[in-house]
Every structure is written in C-alpha cells, then in structure tokens.
C-alpha cells in the first residue's frame, strides 16, 4: 500500500475499494465557462503533470475497472479481469482488496472452495480490522449457502464481525436472524432483528420470515404480532406493498384457521384489490363470510373472483364455491348455471394444462424460456441477473409460477441460465479464436516483410535525428548573448540575410575597381542602408532566433520520443514474431471444443431435472383440476336432483 492521500470525495467506497487509496489529485488551472442555454463550452486544457505508470497506479486502474464491472452486473467480466491481472502479476496475495473482491465473486459464481481458500488466507494475515470483519462476514455467508448454519451463526454472533459499515452490519444481522428463525430460536432472532435499521426492506423481509416461522412453530400470537409489524409499515414501492399484502394475507389465513373470523376479515380487507395476492384474499374473505353463514356477503367476492384468470388456483376454487353459496341461498337455477360455468371453465383449463404438459415435454421448452430471457435482458454476462418470467413466456407459466418462486427450482434454473451463457461465451470464443489465429498469421507475415526495412530506416532516421539535435544544440550554445554587428548576418532575418549575401557578392566582384568608382560607391551605400536595417531590427531578430531555436529543440525532443516509440514497437514486433502465440491459440481451440461438449451435456442433464419438476407440478394441477371437474359434475347432478324432487313434491301437494 502506498502512502498516497485519500481523496475525501471517495470515502463512500466499498471496503475493498477503500483499501486501495485513490490517487491524490492536483487540479491545476481553472475552468472558464461560456454558456448558452444548454451547451456550455469549457475552456482550455487543465495542465496536469503526467504521473509515472508504476505498479500502484496500474493497480488503481485495474481494480477500479473491475469494480465498475462488478457493480454494473458484469460479475463474470470483473472476475476475469481480476484473474487476468493476477496472472500478469499485478494482483497477488498481498493485494487484499482484490483478494476479497475475488472471494466474493467466487461465492456468487458458486465456486465455494476457491472462495474459502481466499478467506482463510486473508484471515491468517495481519490485515485491517474492518477488512478482517468483512472477510469473516463473507466466510459466514459461504457457510450459510452451504447449509452449515451453526458455523455461520458462530461467526456472525461473535465479535469477529464487529466494526463493519452500517450496510454490512445490517446484512450480518439479517443473516443471523434468518439462521435463528430456521433453528426456531426466536428470542435470539428477535435480538438480531432489532439490530437491523427500522424501515429497511431487509428488516421488513426478516420480520415477515420470523412471523411465518413463529406461526409454523405454533407461537401463533407472537407470529401474528410480527406480521402486524410488517402490515403497519408505511406504504412504499411495489415490492414493499406486495410484502405488506403478503403479511395481511398470512394473518388473515392464520386467524381464519383459528376461527377468529373478525380478526381474519380485518386483516384480509387490507390486501390491495389489484395486488399480487388479491385472489387469495378474495377467496379467504369469502370463506370467512361463508363460515359465519353470511352467504350473501360471500357471494359477490367469489363472483368477482370467477371473472379473473382461471389458471389461478383461487379462481378455480371460487368456481365451485360461488354456486355453492347460491345453493345455500336456495337459488337453484343460479347454482346450476354456476356449476355449468365451472365445468366448462375447468374443462378448458384442463385442456390448457394438457397443452402446457405437451409444451414442457417438447425439446425446445427451455430454448423458448432462454429466448424470453434474451429478449428481456441485453446483458450477456454469464453471471448477470436473469429476466423474470411472466405469463407471456408460455401457457404453462401461470401454473409454474409457484415453482419458479421456490428457492431450489429458481436456483437450479439460474444455474441452467448461467451454463447457457457460458455456452454462448464458448461459442463466441470458438468463432473468435480462428479469427485471432488468422490475425496472428497476417501480423506475422506483415511484420516479417516490413521489419528488416523498418530496422534499417530507423537506424538512418536516428542518425539524422542525432545530427539535427547536435546542430540545434550547437546553435543554441553558440548563440552570442550580446548584439554584435561584427557578424551582421547572424542578426539578420531571412530576407535581410539574402540581401546581405547578394550585396556581399557585388562587393567582392567590384573590389578590383578603384574605390572612387560609382559602382563601388553604390554598393557601399546599399550595404550601409542594409547594415542600418539589420542593426535596427537586431533585438527583435535575436529574440525570434532564440524562440525559433527553442521550438526546434522541442520538436527535436518530440522526434526523439517518437524515434524511441518506433524503436519500442520494433522491439515488440521482434519479440512478437518469435513468440508461440499461434501454438497457444491452437491449443485453446481444442479446449473450447471440449468445454462446449461438456456444457451441452450438463445443460441437458440439468434441463431434464427442471423439466421433471415442471411436469410434476403440472401433473398435480391436472389431478386437482380433474377432481374439481368431477366435483362440479356431481354438484350439478345433486342440484338437478334436488330441483326435480322439489318439483315432484310441489306436484304431489
């Protein structure tokens, strides 16, 4: 770590970022603005002295570039950059900030062993306290992902994770609360929840999870209290509101199960009518009325529900419940019509499920899902977030919604998509490598043809440049400080110099004539006038000469630098044509082909698992729909039978 000063504007950076102290900046010069309405032209250059590109500067650039990729949802790219720079020797075990980032990326990419190796290495070192705490946090997260909950809880509850930023601390306590919830240690979970800032989304999710877990563990009153805490949060964005709906529904259903109808109703009416849980809420509200024999109040709720998308399980239930309410009210013709409508709708849905099963069973089901993902997100990074799947991805999606919402299936599907993107990456490389080989061959041919000539020309140019440099230096050194008219040609400008040479020639030619001759007299007069002119302009001319020689020296410096640049290029090219780049590219081509085959094989296996899960869910739906259809037919027969008996009784009377 170098001793550069930290730029205060960059203090909000993540920890591994802060570890690499940003370069101190000296801003020189000022900015002048010439403004128009929306176009402002900033003035001249900001003269800043270039800094040497030393190792720390290279690390600063390379690490911050990886940081950009990390936060821009291009984590695979970030990981590749870090690993490439590691191979180049720029990052090593001593660049802890890069190590920590790489460890986090390994965790996210599912390479737990590599991540653990890094974390263990970091923890053995004498590193900053905050970096150490964050490394422990990552290690705990790794244990948590692996299901090693006790190990994770040990770390998170200890002082080893003390002293992190507020954001990281909230993450620590959220993880700890989730572990305690799963272990049914609600008291400790509650203590962790208190450490999460109130009103944050993470806190709301943790509270919801805890409420549900408590209800499952028969601590129903405490669970309902926790859920009420979520329900009473102020309105927020769509995700927050959906969580509030979910909490209201969970309370409603729990109270309904306990027979506390009023409490159930009070919670259920707080579920938004246009929210994602409104179907379940309408069904449950109807049930709460039905249980109290308030059939007239149950009916409109279920009638509203049967108008909605029949692929939803609550709608399917309502299709049978609405005519049942008519029955209870003695409205047999309406009940019969309702059951008829139910049989038709359920039969249509059964057809839809059959179609969905066929779709899922088709070879290209996952291909269609992939194309949907490609259409919804342009990011092709293998670790990029996948698009969310809505009903327009296929008729099976409404039925598979719950499957996609489950953690394990979603994780498997994410892995499948990750493999698919790795496959695309490999296919891209498969096409690029031959192009790279061709470029290499072209470069080789071109360099071999031009290098000998270039080397020769460079030698000649260097000689010329050295001569010019020596001449310029000689002129600069020998330029007299004073204005000496003994050598007027040295003080003349170019035009005066030409005239001086002409007159000197005349002077020479007329030297054999007598001194009183008119020609010699004329030359003498002209020479006198010229000398007078040269003497008059001498200060300006000398200044100009000094300025010219300085410019020439600068130009010579640039030519010198350019010659050095060409020399460097020739050296690079010489090394380049002697390298084994072609062989290395060729060997990688074979690796790519092998990996493409491996990826396709794994995708086929994983895809089959996903299909099996989807088909199982659809088969269960088919059975359920079949049972509901049978129930609807039986109910129709019953209603018709009842009506017929009643008519007979009326006739007999």
């Amino acid at each position: 770590m170098n001793a550069r000063e930290e730029n205060p504007m960059r203090r909000m950076q993540p920890s591994w970022k802060r570890m690499l102290r940003p370069l101190a900046m000296t801003m020189l010069g000022s900015i002048s603005l010439s403004a128009s309405a929306s176009l402002l032209i900033i003035g001249d250059d900001l003269p800043v002295e270039p800094m040497p590109l030393d190792v720390e500067s290279q690390r600063y650039l390379a690490f911050n570039e990886a940081t950009f990729a990390f936060y821009a949802d291009r984590q695979f790219d970030a990981m590749t950059q870090l690993l490439a720079n590691q191979k180049r020797g720029l990052f090593n075990h001593d660049t802890e900030y890069a190590e920590l980032m790489l460890g986090e990326l390994y965790v996210n990419f599912g390479l737990a062993e590599q991540a653990e190796e890094i974390f263990n290495r970091l923890l053995k070192k004498d590193i900053l306290a905050q970096l150490r705490a964050e490394t422990w946090l990552h290690k705990a997260a790794l244990n948590y992902r692996r299901g090693q909950l006790d190990e994770a809880a040990d770390v998170l509850a200890s002082k080893r994770t003390d002293g992190m930023s507020a954001e990281k601390n909230a993450r620590r306590h959220l993880m700890l609360a989730n572990i305690r919830i799963s272990q049914e240690e609600f008291g400790e979970a509650l203590a962790s929840l208190h450490a999460i800032p109130a009103g944050t989304r993470e806190g709301a999710y943790a509270t919801y999870n805890m409420g549900v877990a408590m209800i499952r563990a028969n601590h129903t009153d405490d669970g309902v209290r926790m859920l009420s805490g979520v329900l009473n949060l102020p309105p927020g964005d769509e995700e927050n509101n959906a969580l509030k709906d979910r909490a209201a529904l969970a309370i409603g259903l729990t109270q309904l199960k306990r027979g506390k109808i009023e409490e159930a109703r009070a919670a259920l009416i707080r579920v938004r009518a246009d929210g994602p849980f409104s179907n379940e809420a309408l069904l449950a509200l109807g049930l709460s009325n039905f249980e109290r024999k308030e059939y007239r109040r149950a009916l409109p709720l279920w009638l509203e529900l049967v108008r909605r998308n029949p692929s939803h399980q609550s709608v399917q239930e309502a299709l049978l419940l609405a005519p049942r309410a008519y029955e209870e009210l003695g409205a047999m013709p309406q009940a019969l019509a309702g059951y008829r409508f139910a049989t038709e709708t359920l039969r249509d849905e059964l057809r839809q499920v059959e179609l969905a099963i066929r779709n899922v069973d088709e070879l290209n089901w996952l291909e269609r899902l992939k194309s949907h993902d490609k259409a919804s997100t342009m990011n092709r990074d293998p670790m990029a977030t996948s698009g969310s799947y809505s009903a327009d991805a296929g008729p099976e999606m409404p039925y598979l919604y719950r499957l996609f919402a489950s953690h394990d299936f979603a994780e498997q599907f994410r892995q499948y998509m990750e493999l698919d993107r790795l496959h695309s990456l490999l296919l891209d490389w498969q096409q690029s490598v031959p192009a790279m080989e061709q470029a290499w061959n072209n470069q080789l041919a071109s360099l071999q043809a031009t290098l000998p000539d270039a080397r020769a020309q460079l030698i000649a140019l260097k000689k010329q440049q050295q001569e010019a440099g020596a001449l310029a230096a000689d002129i600069q050194v020998n330029m007299p400080q004073g204005l000496d008219m003994k050598r007027p040609q040295d003080l003349a400008d170019f035009e005066q110099l030409v005239r001086w040479e002409i007159i000197s020639e005349f002077d020479r030619q007329t030297r054999h004539q007598p001194p009183s001759s008119s020609e010699r007299e004329r030359v003498r007069r002209v020479k006198g006038v010229l000398l007078y002119n040269i003497a008059s302009n001498a200060p300006q001319n000398r200044q100009q000469q000094q300025s010219d020689i300085n410019s020439a020296m600068e130009e010579i410096d640039i030519v010198d630098m350019r010659t050095a640049a060409v020399e460097q290029l020739i050296r690079d090219a010489s090394l380049h044509i002697r390298s084994d780049l072609g062989n290395r590219l060729n060997s990688r081509r074979q690796d790519i082909d092998r990996m493409i085959t491996d990826t396709e094989k794994l995708m086929a296996q994983l895809g089959q698992l996903l299909k099996n899960d989807a088909l199982q869910v659809l088969a269960e739906n088919r059975i359920q729909l079949g049972e509901q259809l049978a129930e609807a037919h039986l109910a129709m027969a019953r209603v018709q039978d009842t009506s017929f008996s009643e008519r007979l009784q009326e006739k007999d009377l």
């Binding site: 176009l39 500067s57 493999l419 460097q568 780049l581």
Partner: protein, 172 residues
Amino acid sequence: MKISSKIVLAGLCAALLTGPLAASDEGLSRQIHNLKQNVLNLNRDLSLLERELLYPSSESAIFVSVDVGTPIRLVDVNLTLNGKHVGYHFYSEQEFTALTSGGIHRIFHGNLPSGRHTLEATVTGYDPQGKDYQKTTSHTFTKGPGRKMLELRVVDDLSTMQHRFEFQEWNE
C-alpha cells in the same frame, strides 16, 4: 355436501407458508463446479492472449470516472481524438451506480501513434433537478514510447450543480 373450506384453507396456507419444492443433484453440482472453473480459466487466458495479439506494450487507454455518490447524473460521454470520433458510451442506471460506487470505465483502448494528441470529450448529464445539459472539454497530451493511460474525471461542481472535468495522465 359439507363445503371443503378446511381443505381450501389448508391449500392456501400451504402455498403461503411452505418452503421450496425442488431438489438438487450433488454429482451434477460437482461437474458444473469443475466446468465453471475451467471456463473461467479459459476466459482469463484467452483475454490475455487477445490482449497480447492486439495491443503491443505501448497500448493506450482512456477511462471515465465520477465522484463517489454524486447526485449529478452522467448520461453519456462522446470522445474525439484529433478530431476523429473514437468512443461513445451511454451509461445505464446500473452503470452510473457502478461509477458512483467507485468504478472507472474504460471508454477507449487502442494503439495511438506517439506524439501530441488532442482529446475532446462531450458529456451529457442531468443536474439534481433533472435538467439536462451538455459540456465539452479538450485536453492535449503527449504519447511516448511506453503505455499511456488517461483518466477523465467528471467531478461535481457544487456551485453550479453540474459537472466539471479533471484529467489525470500516466506514462510508462
């Protein structure tokens, strides 16, 4: 018929209060793990080979960065070098977040001839009130025999709530 409300309720509760459905396969996971590691190494090596092929040791790069946590939104940057267009990038919301989190974006990477060059950058941004504006700046630099790195820092001018520019150069 007794209405099956208990069953309906149980179904609803199960949907809301139960855990995941699918199971994972250990052997497959190990194979995927190995494949990922191999692809990662391959991608790293090919990136290095590509760089070796395309850029000699005298490569040049131009980076863009902003102040961490800036409220002034950077929308796009357009670069010209010696009057020729060399780079343009539109920053998505996520990329802008990446910049404000301390990332720097490589907007140009290539081989420049040695000597003097004039870089002109036009930046479009939104001030905290959502008003758009555009600013242009120019910078002259010299490229020598080694690598040249240049960072365009788009920093906050809190007096105007717009951007101003700083350039940082590195020479090898």
